[in-house]
């Protein structure tokens, strides 16, 4: 098992490394966007970039030849100006990884909050996104599973049909449409809930109310998709022979379902929970924009709009890494939930 975990983690990190390398190079190939602000800010930015190894500064002592188009030329001071040049993307990438590993330095924002460390910006925003994602998971997983179990146990009754119709509608309607309707009804028409994310200084009650629309719109689709897969799995298990055997040997229906059916039905459901967990993170991007939640998703969009590629890349890296790590942990949890699956066992 230990060997398997190590192998899985190792593979995961290789994949992560490859994805980040590809995206880094692709991001670096985007047209260069100058930082905003006056010369003071630009000098500070380029000096920082130079010290971190993302640009090259013309060295009067060593270099003689002309390198080509400089990224930035500082105003003349003491009779000379500093020339900053781009360096190859792969070299920058190596430096980026080195800086993170050795100094935990994730680079600097160019135009979103000029010269502020990306990790500071991310840190101020990651919690809102994570909190929303977690709350939505905590609510939607039990609700979805319970609803699915209920529908499966009442198969082909009015309850089942009602739940199925609701689930169909819930899965089909995109989240942004749902937010639109929720905002229209509860925020504008009835005025019960705030129409945008409350500020930090808002009262506790308002803050609490501010969570309702985002969480509901995140949960709705999730609950429906969990419910659908749980129902399908459970129906299959309930029709299986071993469950009949369980009943024949004297277990009550309740015992048979709780001890045998549920546990087996849960195994295939885990991947969908994993997928949903990651999707909540990216899916909240639209929600964050529409509800102006200061989270990672909106940061990503602001970074794109302001052409702050460095910040965008850090955001990308975190989102990707988050998804990968979730995937690894969920793979590992298969062994725990179903002992038949011996992780990494030979055929």
């Amino acid at each position: 098992m230990g060997k398997y975990i190590l192998k899985r983690l190792g593979l995961g990190f290789i994949t992560l490394f490859l994805i980040l390398s590809i995206t880094f190079i692709l991001v670096k190939m985007l047209p260069y966007a100058r930082p905003i602000g006056g010369d003071q800010q630009q000098i500070a930015y380029f000096e920082k970039q130079y010290s971190l190894g993302y640009v090259y500064r013309f060295d009067y002592a060593k270099d003689e030849a002309e390198f080509g188009e400089p990224l930035y030329v500082s105003p003349v001071q003491n009779g000379k100006a500093n020339y900053y040049y781009n360096i190859p993307a792969l070299k920058q990438y190596a430096n980026w990884v080195k800086n993170i590993v050795t100094k935990w330095d994730w680079g600097y924002s160019k135009s979103y909050q000029p010269n502020v460390s990306a990790s500071v910006i991310i840190r101020s925003r990651i919690w809102v996104s994570l909190r929303l994602s977690l709350i939505a998971s905590i609510i939607s997983i039990p609700f979805g599973i319970l609803l699915g179990i209920w529908a499966a146990l009442k198969k082909n009754t009015a309850t089942d049909h009602t739940i199925s119709v609701l689930v169909m509608v819930g899965i089909s309607i995109p989240s942004f449409i749902l937010i639109t309707f929720l905002l229209r009804i509860f925020a504008y028409k009835l005025g019960w809930l705030p129409s945008t994310w409350p500020t930090d200084s808002a009262a506790f009650g308002t803050k609490f109310k501010g969570y309702i629309i985002p969480v509901v719109s995140l949960c709705f689709g999730r609950i429906c998709s969990y419910c659908r897969s749980v129902r399908a799995e459970l129906c299959e298990v309930l029709a299986s022979e071993y469950l009949l055997l369980a009943r024949t040997k004297g277990l009550t229906r309740r015992q048979a379902i709780v001890r045998h059916a549920l546990k087996n039905a849960m195994v295939p459901i885990f991947p969908s929970i994993l997928a949903a967990f990651i999707a909540i993170f990216t899916g909240s991007m639209i929600l964050e924009t529409l509800y102006s939640i200061p989270g990672l998703g909106r940061l990503y969009l602001s970074a794109i709009t302001l052409k702050d590629w460095d910040l965008m890349f850090v955001d990308m890296a975190i989102t990707t890494a988050y998804g990968m790590i979730c995937g690894i942990f969920l793979d590992l949890s298969y062994g725990w939930i179903d002992p038949r699956i011996r992780m990494g066992a030979k055929k």
Partner: protein, 629 residues
């Protein structure tokens, strides 16, 4: 046990069929094919059939509405923005192009609601379906242009003793003989935010030093009316005439901000006084009007060193229902037309006009004539020729419509017909989704069949590649595509394919794994069939139903993806798309909800229909469900 003997005789037996030959009887049931059976089972599923119908209607509309609708959705027509959806005539109360608003500031002068856009008052009155004015005014502490009454607040801006503030008029001249009077009404109302009624004085200042003043009321907390005979005061001070400013001082205090409330201030004088007009400008009867005029540099201007504001200004509110079409296309605005325009109408026989007689000579001869009456005419000085007329007419004619337009779903911020925009957007999105899915289908089948059929190392490598690509979040992939290659339909197709094909390929791969080990494939292989034949003749036809139904479900996914991108400001540019339309209208949610609600409903409808239809197809084509119903 009793013993029984049974005897058989040859006559006990007879031939069943001694003369005729036995043939298989023909089957009574009709033969069926896989497709026919699938269709039959699909038709049994009521909800899927309904979904297919809705889908069909929506697709037909998206093809025909953009062709048949005459409305222009490319040029921006700002005056026609945000017209409400209209199906019935105005006043029917439902879907009639009217807008209901509550608690809107009421313009007491023109007796109409105060709208942010400027419409002519006549037209506004004609457009109102109903209007309820709240008889009780609300007291507000800001100077609304439609407010009235209230008090001027003159307040200190520091709590340091000695930092008195004042409000002063422009310089006015007074003399003894013209009977100048000053009448000021103060108020002792409490209730100005974090301030307290304070000590004040009133005086005329005629020189540069602090001693050159004529005190009318010294520092006190006396808030009664001040009615002074200025001429008498001048006489008492031994002055014949005076050129001075009126000052109100408020004494600052350490414990709180101090203020004084002035309701009215008026100067009067005998008719013989020379500066009556100036006095009138310096006087104010209505405090709100005075504050609203504050930035006008005239005699009415009062300068102030402290905080000058308004307290308890009366503002009336009203609820109204207004016909937005009448407002925009109605009768009322005066429009200036050139003489050439008029001449062309006369030549077409729409109207007649004689500029020598003047506006009265205008006669409307045809319904096509854009104007109803001529209000005035302009004649060039030298040639005495008509150069232009100012006319009143229905605005829709001026905007180039034959009759008043009617928009089923209303218009958006650019004045575009939402009905047409919605369906042309739907067409683009459906087209995009179908093209993307078709390309994904082809790539997916090729990739999936190679990977699934050959297995082994080939499969392993291809699978790793897919996993690597699949692990990149779709938003990252799309962003990079759009940022690198620009934003147009072609790039969008490629980018969406890049995100989507992995899914189709994995479905195809699974199908190949499922069928390649079957006996009939083995049999065919034993007979010497080549890979190509096995793939295309034996495995693919069996698996293709599942792949196709997955593609149908994928269409809904691509439409959703496109809309999500639009919400992330990465939407398709250069052509109308459904997602871009949705995201553009999202901003109007609070004020003009119809612009987003109707498209949202259509979006939800098409997604539900596509999913139901796809599920129905999947169930119908799923061989394992055959005979289960």
């Amino acid at each position: 046990m009793e013993k029984r003997n049974i005897e058989f005789k040859p006559n006990d037996f007879e031939l069943v069929n001694a003369t005729a030959k036995i043939f298989d009887t023909k089957l009574d049931t009709k033969p069926t094919t896989f497709m026919k059976d699938a269709i039959r089972r699909f038709c049994k599923n009521k909800s899927s059939v309904a979904a297919a119908l809705i889908l069909g209607i929506l697709i037909l509309m998206s093809i025909f509405v953009p062709i048949l609708s005459p409305h222009d959705i490319d040029t921006v027509k700002t005056p026609e923005k945000f017209l409400e959806p209209k199906l019935f005539e105005a006043g029917t109360g439902f879907w009639d192009g009217t807008r209901e608003k509550q608690h809107i500031v009421y313009d007491t002068v023109n007796e109409v609601p105060a709208l942010s856009e400027k419409y002519s008052v006549d037209n506004l009155k004609a457009s109102l379906v109903s209007l309820t004015v709240n008889p009780e005014p609300e007291l507000v502490d800001n100077a609304n242009p439609y407010g009235q009454g209230g008090f001027i607040v003159l307040a200190t801006d520091s709590k340091v003793p000695g930092r008195d503030v004042y409000m002063s008029s422009k310089r006015l001249s007074f003399n003894v003989k013209d009977k100048y009077r000053l009448h000021v009404v103060f108020s002792n109302e409490e209730g100005v935010a974090d301030s307290r009624l304070g000590e004040y004085r009133v005086y005329l200042k005629y020189g540069d030093t602090d001693e050159d003043i004529l005190v009318l009321r010294d520092f006190s907390r006396d808030y009664s009316e001040l009615d002074v005979d200025l001429s008498a005061a001048l006489e008492a001070a031994g002055l014949n005439s005076l050129n001075a400013q009126l000052y109100f001082d408020v004494k600052s205090s350490a414990d709180a901000y101090q203020y004084v409330l002035i309701e009215r201030c008026s100067f009067t004088a005998a008719e013989s006084a020379s500066n009556l007009e100036l006095l009138e400008e310096a006087s104010f009867e209505d405090a709100t009007a005075m504050i609203n005029n504050a930035d006008v540099s005239s005699q009415g201007y009062w300068s102030c060193t402290g905080r000058k504001g308004i307290h308890n200004s009366k503002l009336y509110y009203c609820d109204y229902v207004i016909d937005t079409y009448m407002l925009v296309y109605g009768n009322g605005d005066l429009v200036r037309y050139s003489a050439t325009d008029l001449q062309s109408w006369i030549e077409k026989g729409w109207c007649s006009y004689d500029h020598k007689v003047g506006p009265e000579s205008f006669q409307r001869l045809s319904d096509e004539c854009p104007i109803d009456e001529v209000v005035s005419q302009e004649i060039t000085g030298v040639t005495k020729k008509l150069s232009a007329i100012t006319a009143r007419g229905w605005n829709y004619r001026a905007l180039g419509y034959k009759e008043m337009p009617k928009y089923l779903f209303g218009t958006d911020a650019s004045g575009h017909d939402l009905f047409k925009k919605l369906f042309s957007g739907l067409l683009t999105s459906l087209f995009l989704a179908v093209v993307v899915t078709a390309i994904c289908f082809i790539i997916g089948i090729i990739w999936g069949s190679i990977s699934g059929y050959y297995g082994g190392l080939t499969d392993l490598l291809m699978e790793r590649f897919c996993e690597l690509l699949g692990r990149i979040p779709w938003i990252v992939m799309m962003t990079l595509f759009i940022l690198h290659f620009g934003n147009n339909l072609g790039v969008f197709v490629v980018a969406l394919v890049a995100v989507d094909w992995i899914y189709t390929a994995s479905v195809a791969r699974v199908q190949f794994y499922r069928f390649k080990g079957r006996e009939y494939v083995l049999a065919s292989r034993t007979l010497g069939a080549k890979d190509k034949r096995l793939i295309f003749k034996h495995i693919l036809p069996n698996g293709i139903g599942t792949i196709i139904t997955n593609c149908v479900l994928d269409i809904a996914g691509v439409i959703g993806l496109e809309a999500q991108l639009a919400y992330l400001n990465l939407g398709l540019q250069g052509s109308h798309s459904f997602g871009v339309m949705l995201s553009e209208n999202q901003a109007n949610l609070s004020v003009y909800p119809f612009t987003i609600i109707v498209p949202s409903v259509v979006m939800a409808l098409i997604m539900i229909a596509l999913n139901l239809f796809g599920n129905g197809l999947r169930d119908a084509f799923n061989p394992s469900l055959k005979g289960s119903d």
